[in-house]
């Protein structure tokens, strides 16, 4: 049923069925009302094989961790099918108005061009590449928050870890902001009570959606042809016999970027310490101001009680908030994000060291007498 409605929506789909029942297209004015797809919550994300290789290539070629781009596809029956993607040019300054407009123009003309060759042209999310596991940063959260409001199903952000791919495990993860976090973000209130109210820890900022990878049969057939070893009369021992020989690079005993990973953990912890120091300072200031305000109110009460005892008119109770400026409680979003980064970095470190341990013990095991 959902597929039938999807086929009759004004978006370009495959060639029309020749001799089946004719579906009447829902007029564009009504399509917002009868939006059946929006009611089905997203349960799974399906990545096309081409998108996988495109993201890996872009992540490898971009400098540092600035590789991001847009995902295109369709949502169908609770599954978000991502069929294409394109990279966005790297803008140096986000606040610069011109560069923001430039990116928007780029995106619009890319979408137009893709539409002409019958590719899907509806934006369903964006992807971000990073190294060594850290993707908790301000820009990601902001972009995802904006996107989640605009897109129909709230877009997903696909995160790709390029260092994990280099180690032999192509890693794609899809995330969405949790409702609790979106709530707090909209109100822009990250003070302590709001955190407690929403029970927010760094692990509850993003929720993960399972990913499924799909290759079209043509792609699968092509890959099979490439990896099939060609039979020749004289097998050589140095040249591999197929275009895509199996790789065993995951069995290498190496340093696995341990030092870089440790450096980044230390950096993040330093930043966290500074942040916590700032927070504590602000808390102390707030407490001090509050103490002064309370002392003033108490003194006023005492004075009034004394004056009533003496029979004079009581002094007016002044509005305390005008006299003492109690500063606003600081936002704890940054420290939460930093904790998330520390956690992510150490998780990567843990994984690399555990596989390294296995390999080392295995290679040593053969040498033990």
């Amino acid at each position: 049923m959902a597929a039938a409605i999807a086929a009759s929506l004004p978006a370009p789909q495959s060639a029309p069925t020749p001799a089946g029942p004719t579906y009447e297209a829902i007029p564009a004015s009504m399509s917002k009302v009868i939006d059946i797809e929006a009611d089905i919550p997203l349960a799974c994300v399906q990545l096309d094989g081409m998108v996988v290789s495109k993201i890996i290539k872009h992540a490898r070629e971009a400098h540092g961790t600035s590789a991001h781009g847009v995902l295109l596809g369709l949502d169908l029956d609770g599954t978000l099918e991502i069929s294409n993607s394109f990279p966005l040019p790297h803008h140096i300054n986000d606040d610069d108005d011109k560069s923001v407009k430039g990116v928007a123009r780029y995106q619009a003309s890319m979408l137009r061009s893709l539409k002409e060759v019958q590719a899907d042209d509806s934006v369903v999310g964006f992807y971000q590449a990073m190294a060594l596991g850290s993707f908790y940063n301000q820009t990601l959260v902001e972009t995802q928050a904006i996107q989640q409001e605009k897109l129909r199903h709230g877009g997903v952000v696909i995160v790709h870890d390029i260092s994990r791919t280099a180690r032999g495990n192509a890693a794609f993860r899809a995330f969405r902001l949790t409702k609790a976090f979106l709530d707090a973000y909209k109100r822009n209130n990250f003070s302590t009570e709001s955190l407690i109210n929403h029970r927010m820890t760094f692990s509850s900022i993003l929720e993960e959606i399972p990913i499924r990878i799909r290759t079209s049969p043509l792609l699968g057939a092509f890959l099979d042809t490439l990896s099939a070893p060609s039979v020749s009369a004289e097998p050589s021992f140095t040249k591999p016999s197929s275009a895509l020989p199996p790789s065993f690079s995951v069995l290498n005993l190496g340093t696995n970027n341990v030092s870089k990973n440790l450096e980044q953990i230390i950096e993040a912890m330093d930043a966290y310490k500074t942040e916590e120091g700032n927070l504590a300072y602000m808390q102390r200031q707030i407490a001090r101001e509050k103490g002064k305000a309370d002392a003033y109110v108490a003194k006023r009460k005492d004075d009034n009680a004394a004056r009533i005892a003496q029979g004079l008119a009581p002094l007016p109770e002044e509005d305390v908030s005008r006299l003492f400026k109690i500063p606003v409680e600081p936002s704890r979003l940054d420290s939460m994000l930093l904790l998330g980064r520390i956690d992510a970095y150490s998780k990567t470190l843990e994984e690399t060291s555990s596989t390294a341990l296995v390999k080392m013990y295995a290679s040593r095991g053969s040498a033990v007498v």
């Binding site: 060639a15 094989g49 081409m50 290789s53 495109k54 290539k57 490898r60 070629e61 990279p87 040019p89 790297h90 061009s113 019958q118 390029i162 994990r164 791919t165 032999g168 495990n169 192509a170 302590t192 009570e193 955190l195 029970r199 927010m200 820890t201 760094f202 399972p210 499924r212 990878i213 799909r214 290759t215 043509l218 792609l219 699968g220 890959l223 099979d224 042809t225 490439l226 591999p240 275009a243 895509l244 199996p246 065993f248 690079s249 069995l251 912890m269 904790l339 956690d343 150490s346 998780k347 470190l349 994984e351 060291s353 555990s354 596989t355 390294a356 341990l357 080392m360 290679s363 040593r364």
Partner: protein, 298 residues
């Protein structure tokens, strides 16, 4: 790693260096990145009913030794009838500008088409593209999807050179040049993932690092079993042993691990243990810290 078996057709040998400095020389070999291949396949799948084959532009880099590296591709609108062929160059320019913004190093190096028949239209289009990127010569990549009967899927690369008495653009012969698949090692695992998915493996995604390690070790163990059974057969006398194979095996298994016991390996092992412990500690610390923030009511 050639993509198609060797042919005895004409190939171009270009030994002297200085390809970039003297444009107009013919390219000598092509390396293709898998992304370009997949994009072409995807475009082929999305073509409309009326199109038999699709064409598009290839982007990549040129090296000084005459090697062309094809890094990505995009589709171009074109229509082909019995009388004429039309290519939307405006679209081509727009898309090229967009792609160039993201990746300034990639330039137009040629064009592709699915289906391996090279007819007059191919020559015309080739001429078009050569004019676009003059003075460099355009390469043509013919990708056969293997969908039709009797045609094997594969990729062939060509350059054109004029032939015949009159220098008309249709009078050109396509000379094949060697074509290879090339990718960086870091992207290798992505391709592995795709081929395992296409083979219908039901392993859960995402696989942890230990799963991948287990699979690798399993395949190495299988290979060792095969080698062992072969050696046993040769010893018994069932199969005649190949001397080259025997020597190769002896070289491979000759490595000894006695040096591992000394010094650096052990300290490295201890370091890894310590790092693992520290990482766990940091994680639990972060978790405790964030819960503490929740616990203190102001």
């Amino acid at each position: 790693m050639p993509l198609v078996p060797e042919t005895s057709a004409l190939t171009i040998q270009n030994g002297s260096p200085g390809f970039l400095s003297t444009p107009g020389r013919t390219p000598t070999s092509v390396t293709v990145h898998p992304v370009a291949l997949f994009t072409i396949l995807d475009h082929y799948l999305r073509r409309t009913e009326s199109q038999d084959r699709v064409i598009g532009t290839l982007l990549g880099t040129r090296s000084d030794t005459g090697e062309i590296e094809v890094r990505s591709a995009f589709a171009v609108l074109h229509s082909e009838t019995a009388e004429q062929v039309a290519v939307d160059m405006e679209y081509h320019h727009t898309m090229y500008e967009l792609h160039h913004k993201v990746n300034p190093k990639e330039v137009i190096v040629g064009w592709y088409s699915t289906g391996s028949n090279l007819n007059t239209y191919s020559a015309l289009i080739q001429n078009f593209y050569s004019q676009e990127i003059a003075p460099h010569q355009a390469i043509h990549l013919a990708l056969n999807t293997g969908v039709e009967e009797g045609q094997q899927s594969g990729v062939k690369a060509y350059v054109s050179s004029p032939i015949g008495v009159t220098p008309k653009p249709e009078n050109a012969v396509f000379l094949p040049i060697p074509c290879e698949l090339q990718f960086k090692e870091t992207e290798r695992s992505g391709l592995d993932l795709l081929s395992s998915v296409s083979n219908g493996s039901t392993d859960a995604y995402p696989a942890t690092d230990l799963d991948i390690l287990e699979r690798s070790l399993q395949s190495v163990s299988d290979m060792l079993d095969r080698v062992l059974s072969y050696v046993r057969q040769v010893l018994v006398g069932e199969v005649k042993g190949n001397a080259a194979v025997g020597r190769y095996l002896m070289n491979t298994f000759g490595a000894s691990t006695d040096e591992l016991e000394k010094g650096a390996f052990n300290t490295s092992l201890q370091d890894t243990l310590m790092v693992s412990y520290l990482a766990n500690l940091v994680r639990s610390q972060a978790e405790v810290s964030t819960r503490l923030a929740l616990a203190t009511a102001s």
